[in-house]
């Protein structure tokens, strides 16, 4: 049981953060808040990948250090692949946020508000 907890607690926290992000997306009326929720959601997924990349025992970061940690034994190093993927994912996330900001400004310029309720009221007219 303790083993299961030690092995899984990172996942539970990731889930909590993911749910906070989803909550922001679903329940917040302000569009900037929604965007913040989106950012939290994205970073939480990054966290999931990074946390599964870790290895137990005598490991080091994925930078070659032949003297102390011979690369032939893969167990010496953290798995570099999820890290790489997440570099990409972070940049993608920033690009998405950039687009979201662009749209936010465009919406504000047209309707002078970023509140969902007020926007919908304006559409009805």
């Amino acid at each position: 049981m303790a083993d299961f907890f030690m092995g899984h607690y990172a996942y539970w926290f990731t889930i909590i953060l993911l749910c906070i992000g989803l909550y922001g997306i679903l329940f917040k009326k302000n569009l900037i808040k929604k965007t913040i929720g989106l950012a939290i959601l994205q970073i939480s997924v990054v966290l999931f990948f990074v946390s599964v990349a870790s290895k137990s025992g005598d490991v080091t970061v994925p930078v070659r250090d032949q003297a102390n940690f011979p690369v032939e034994i893969a167990a010496n190093y953290l798995n570099p692949l999820p890290h790489t993927l997440m570099l990409t994912a972070i940049v993608v996330g920033v690009a998405t946020l950039g687009v979201a900001f662009t749209l936010l400004i465009a919406i504000y310029n047209r309707y002078n508000t970023l509140d969902e309720q007020e926007l919908i009221e304006q559409f009805d007219d």
Binding site: L17, I32, K33, V46, L47, V61, I90, Y108
Partner: protein
């Protein structure tokens, strides 16, 4: 460049997790959007810290520079360009 062995320090991670959740909730719940944005930046920095604690130095660095730095600036710009108040 030698990093500490036994990279999974769960006590540290746990503390950062708690602060992460806290900052995320504050960022979503606070009414002043500028504060929300600042909390978002804090969230990113904590996340970067966590990544580095987990041994993902590259990801942590990137998150710090791009996630916290650039996104933070852009967030601030958006808040200044639009409105600072939020109803929820």
């Amino acid at each position: 460049m030698i990093f500490a062995v036994e990279l999974v320090i769960w006590q540290l991670e746990l503390v950062i997790y708690l602060f992460l959740a806290l900052s995320a909730i504050v960022a979503l719940e606070v009414r002043d959007l500028l504060v929300a944005v600042v909390m978002m930046t804090v969230f990113s920095f904590l996340m970067a810290l966590l990544f580095i604690a987990m041994g993902a130095i590259d990801v942590g660095f990137t998150e710090a520079v791009i996630g916290a730095g650039v996104t933070g600036i852009l967030f601030v710009v958006v808040v200044y360009q639009t409105s600072r108040k939020s109803k929820d």
